[in-house]
C-alpha cells in the first residue's frame, strides 16, 4: 500500500514537473529585462546579436584567435562598460549565410527573433517589408548623414524609413589566378597588383579560351578557366550580373523584371555557351559557389567570383598557410558595352521588433554605438568603409579603396529594392539549372524567370507593410 502511494505521489510530481517546465519556458529565456541583478544597481538587459560570417578579428584577421564574432564581442564589452542606463550583456552568434532565412523564419514565427542582425542589406530587405524590423531614423544624426554618402542611405531606406545602419560595403568583382594566366601566356591580360582589371567581352573570351588550351596540365591538373555555379542561391549576384552583360536593365521603373528581351536571352545564351564549351568547371547545375571558391583556392580555376571581404580572407588563408599560395588579383565583370559591371553589398545592422521597448531601445543604442564610435568604425576597413572619413584614413593601407571608388560609377542595384527578394532568389537557380542541362532554351529561361519572378514580386508587394503604408 505504501509503495502504491509512493508511485501515485511520484507520478503526480512528474506531471507537475513537466507542466512547470513548460510554463516556465517563456520567463526564463534569454533576452528579457531583469531587475533582480544583485551585483549592480542597474537593471540587466540581455540582447542577442546574430551575424553571418563577415570578417575575422576586431581590426585585422591576423590577430590571435581572430574569428567572425571577435569584433562584436569586443564592441559589446566596450558598449557595456560605458553604457549608463542598463547593465547590458550581448550574446553574439554567427549564423551560416545559407541558414539565415531558415533561422530567422523559425525564430520570428516562434516569437524569439534576435534583437540585432548584422548582414548584407539585400538579404534582409524582406524583413523590413514584412514589418519585422523597427525603423532606425531616430539614431541617424547629421554627423552620420554627412560622413556616409547618400547612395548608401538610399540602399538602406525602405519607403521613408531607414532600416539598416550602414557600416561597410563589399563590392563584388572577379578574382583571377595571375600565376596561371602567366603560365598560359596571358601576361598581356594581367592587371596590376592594386588594380581591378577591366577586360572587354572579346578579351574575356580570349582569356577563357587560352586558359582552356594553354594552361600546363603538369602544373595545374584538373583545372578549368572559370567558375560557374547554379546549385542554390549562394553567390547568385554574379549570375545576375552575367545576365546584364549584353545591356539588359533587369528591372523597369516600376520594379518589375524585364529580362525577357533580346539582350537577356543573349546573356543566357552566353552563359550556356561557356558552360558547353568547357570554359567553366563541369556540372555548373549541381555545383555551389562554395565549391567554386574552394576550387579557386586550390588553383583549379583561372577566374572565380569574389567580394572585398572574401578576397581579403583568401589572401589571409594563403598567408597563414591554410591554402596554397599564388598571385590572386581582381578583375571586373565585363560587358558588351566595354563598361564593367559592378555591384556592392552594403552591410549594416538591423533591429528586430521584439515587442520589448527596453530591448529595442538598448539595441538601437548599441547599433549606433558600434556604427559611429571613432575606434570601432575603423574595422569597416575589412570591407570597404561606407564612411568617407574611414576610407580616407585607410586609403594608403588599402589601395583597393581607390579602385573600388573608381568603379562606383558603373554600379547597378541588383535587388531593385523589390519586395520578396528572398523568394525571388529561389526562382533563378532552377531556371539556370534548366539552362545548363539543356532542358530549356535561353529564350525560354528568360521568359519563365520573368513570369515567375514578377508573380513573386506582385504577391510580396501585396503583403508589404511598406507598400501598404
Amino acid at each position: 500500500m505504501l509503495r502504491k502511494r509512493l508511485f501515485v505521489v511520484l507520478g503526480f510530481a512528474l506531471i507537475l514537473f513537466i507542466l512547470g517546465a513548460c510554463s516556465d519556458e517563456g520567463s526564463s529565456s534569454e533576452g528579457t529585462t531583469d531587475s533582480s541583478d544583485s551585483d549592480s544597481s542597474k537593471d540587466k538587459v540581455e540582447l542577442s546579436l546574430w551575424l553571418t560570417p563577415q570578417w575575422k578579428g576586431v581590426l585585422d584577421s591576423d590577430e590571435e584567435g581572430a574569428d567572425y564574432d571577435s569584433f562584436f564581442n569586443h564592441a559589446a564589452e566596450k558598449f557595456a562598460a560605458q553604457y549608463e542606463e542598463y547593465d547590458v550583456e550581448i550574446d553574439v552568434e554567427v549564423i551560416a549565410a545559407d541558414q539565415r532565412d531558415e533561422m530567422l523564419n523559425v525564430n520570428l514565427n516562434g516569437g524569439t527573433p534576435p534583437d540585432i542582425f548584422y548582414e548584407s542589406v539585400f538579404a534582409m530587405g524582406d524583413y523590413a517589408h514584412r514589418g519585422a524590423l523597427v525603423p532606425l531614423n531616430d539614431i541617424v544624426d547629421e554627423e552620420a548623414k554627412g560622413d556616409i554618402a547618400s547612395n548608401y542611405w538610399d540602399t538602406v531606406t525602405f519607403g521613408d524609413d531607414v532600416y539598416f545602419y550602414p557600416y561597410s560595403h563589399m563590392p563584388g568583382t572577379l578574382v583571377y589566378n595571375a600565376d596561371m594566366f602567366k603560365a598560359a601566356g596571358l601576361e598581356d591580360y594581367v592587371g596590376g597588383e592594386e588594380e581591378i582589371k577591366t577586360w572587354t567581352l572579346d578579351e574575356f573570351d580570349t582569356v577563357l579560351n587560352t586558359l582552356k588550351e594553354d594552361v600546363p596540365t603538369d602544373k595545374y591538373s584538373n583545372a578549368y578557366p572559370m567558375g560557374l555555379y547554379a546549385l542554390n542561391t549562394q553567390g547568385d549576384t554574379w549570375n545576375l550580373a552575367y545576365l546584364r552583360m549584353f545591356g539588359n536593365p533587369f528591372f523597369d521603373d516600376n520594379g518589375n523584371i524585364v529580362l525577357n528581351d533580346e539582350n537577356g536571352a543573349e546573356a543566357a545564351a552566353w552563359m550556356k555557351d561557356i558552360n558547353d564549351s568547357g570554359l567553366t568547371n563541369p556540372g555548373a547545375e549541381s555545383v555551389s559557389s562554395n565549391d567554386v571558391n574552394a576550387m579557386f583556392q586550390n588553383q583549379q580555376l583561372g577566374i572565380s567570383f569574389t567580394n572585398s571581404v572574401l578576397y581579403n580572407n583568401t589572401i589571409a588563408d594563403m598567408e597563414s598557410g591554410n591554402a596554397p599560395e599564388f598571385d590572386a588579383r581582381l578583375a571586373n565583370i565585363p560587358s558588351e558595352s566595354g563598361d564593367p559591371l559592378t555591384f556592392t553589398y552594403v552591410t549594416g545592422a538591423a533591429v528586430f521588433d521584439t515587442g520589448d521597448e527596453t530591448r529595442i531601445k538598448v539595441s538601437k543604442d548599441f547599433v549606433k554605438f558600434f556604427s559611429s564610435d571613432p575606434e570601432l568604425v575603423k574595422s569597416s576597413k575589412n570591407g570597404v568603409p561606407v564612411r568617407t572619413s574611414v576610407a580616407e584614413e585607410f586609403k594608403d593601407e588599402n589601395p583597393f579603396f581607390a579602385a573600388y571608388d573608381e568603379n562606383a560609377q558603373y554600379m547597378f542595384s541588383f535587388t531593385g529594392n523589390v519586395p520578396g527578394y528572398s523568394e525571388l532568389r529561389q526562382v533563378l537557380y532552377p531556371e539556370l539549372q534548366a539552362l545548363y542541362t539543356g532542358e530549356k532554351t535561353p529564350e525560354q529561361v528568360v521568359e519563365d524567370y520573368q513570369t515567375k519572378g514578377n508573380e513573386v514580386i506582385e504577391s510580396s508587394r501585396a503583403d508589404s507593410v511598406i507598400y501598404s503604408e
Binding site: I18, R130, N222, N281, P282, Q433
Partner: protein, 291 residues
C-alpha cells in the same frame, strides 16, 4: 453512469505510469496534427493570419513543382521500399542458416551505414559525385570516359538518390529479417528436406510466408521514412536540377523556412499525413488481424 470505484482505484497507478508519455504524445503529436490542419486553412504573415479556406490546397495543386514533388515522392517510396524488401530477403535468406560468425559479419557490414549519420553519408556521396571536383567524375575523366553529371542529369538524379538511400537503409531490414528467419521452427525445414524440397521451395514456401509480419513491419516503417526523405535531397541536389529531385518534405521545408509560407507548408504537411495514413492503414489492418 455508475463508476466502478474499485476498478478505477486499481487502475489508477497504471494510468499514472502512462500519464507522462500520454502527455508528451498529446502535446507533441496529436496537438501538432490538429494545429497543422488549422494552419493549412490560413494565410500567415508576420502581421497576422487570415482565413483563406482551401486556397492553400488549390494553390498547391496548380503548382507544377508541388505536382513534381508528389510524383518524385511516390517514385522514391515505391522504388526504395521494393528494393529494400527484395534485397533484404535475398541477403537474409541466403545467410540466416550459415555459421553464426559469418552471419554476424554480414549483418554488421550491412548495418554500419545505418549507424552513420545521413548527413555524413550525403556529404561522402557528394564528395564522390560532385561533377567539378568529385572523385568518380575525376576518375571517369582520367579514363577518358564520357562526362556524366550524376547529380545534374534529370534522368539520373532519381536513380542515384534511390541507390544512396537504399544503400544507407537496407541494413535495418536485413537485421530484422535475419532475426525473424532464425526464429522460424527448424522442424519445418527438416520436414521440407525429407519431402525433397529444394532451397528455392524452402525460401518461397516456408521462409517468406512465415516472415510476413516482419515484411509488413519493414514496409510500413520504410514507407513512413521515405515519405519524409529530406537530408539527402538537401545536401546532394538541393532539389535540382530544375526541381527534378524535389520531394514533398523538401517542398514543405522550402515553403516553411525559406519562403515563409506557413499556410502552404501546413497544407503540404496535411497531404503527407493523409498519404502516410492511406498507405499504412491496409498494412496495419493486415498485421493486427493476424495477431
Amino acid at each position: 453512469m455508475k463508476v466502478n470505484r474499485y476498478a478505477l482505484k486499481r487502475n489508477m497507478t497504471g494510468y499514472l505510469f502512462i500519464a507522462p508519455q500520454l502527455l508528451f504524445f498529446l502535446v507533441f503529436l496529436v496537438y501538432p496534427i490538429f494545429e497543422g490542419i488549422r494552419l493549412s486553412l490560413f494565410k500567415i504573415s508576420y502581421q497576422g493570419t487570415t482565413f483563406v479556406g482551401f486556397d492553400n490546397y488549390t494553390a498547391l495543386f496548380s503548382n507544377p513543382v508541388f505536382v513534381k514533388s508528389v510524383i518524385n515522392t511516390v517514385v522514391f517510396v515505391v522504388a526504395i521500399v521494393a528494393l529494400t524488401v527484395l534485397f533484404a530477403i535475398f541477403v537474409s535468406s541466403a545467410i540466416f542458416d550459415k555459421n553464426a560468425k559469418y552471419v554476424s559479419f554480414i549483418r554488421g557490414s550491412y548495418y554500419i551505414p545505418v549507424m552513420v549519420s545521413m548527413v555524413v553519408m550525403s556529404m561522402i556521396w557528394g564528395f564522390l559525385l560532385n561533377p567539378a571536383n568529385g572523385l568518380i567524375p575525376y576518375v571517369m575523366r582520367e579514363l577518358e570516359l564520357p562526362a556524366v553529371n550524376f547529380l545534374g542529369n534529370k534522368d539520373l538524379v532519381l536513380p542515384v538518390i534511390i541507390f544512396v538511400t537504399f544503400a544507407t537503409n537496407v541494413g535495418q531490414a536485413i537485421i530484422l529479417y535475419i532475426a525473424s528467419m532464425i526464429g522460424v521452427p527448424k522442424e519445418l525445414f527438416e520436414a521440407a528436406e525429407i519431402d525433397g524440397a529444394n532451397r528455392k521451395d524452402v525460401i518461397f514456401k516456408i521462409l517468406i510466408p512465415l516472415v510476413k509480419p516482419t515484411t509488413l513491419y519493414i514496409i510500413i516503417i520504410n514507407i513512413i521514412a521515405v515519405l519524409k526523405i529530406f537530408v539527402v535531397i538537401q545536401l546532394l541536389t538541393g532539389g535540382g536540377p530544375n526541381n527534378a529531385s524535389t520531394t514533398l518534405m523538401y517542398f514543405l521545408y522550402n515553403n516553411a523556412f525559406k519562403y515563409n509560407q506557413l499556410g502552404i507548408a501546413s497544407a503540404v504537411g496535411v497531404i503527407m499525413f493523409v498519404i502516410a495514413l492511406l498507405l499504412a492503414i491496409p498494412q496495419l489492418r493486415t498485421m493486427l488481424r493476424k495477431e
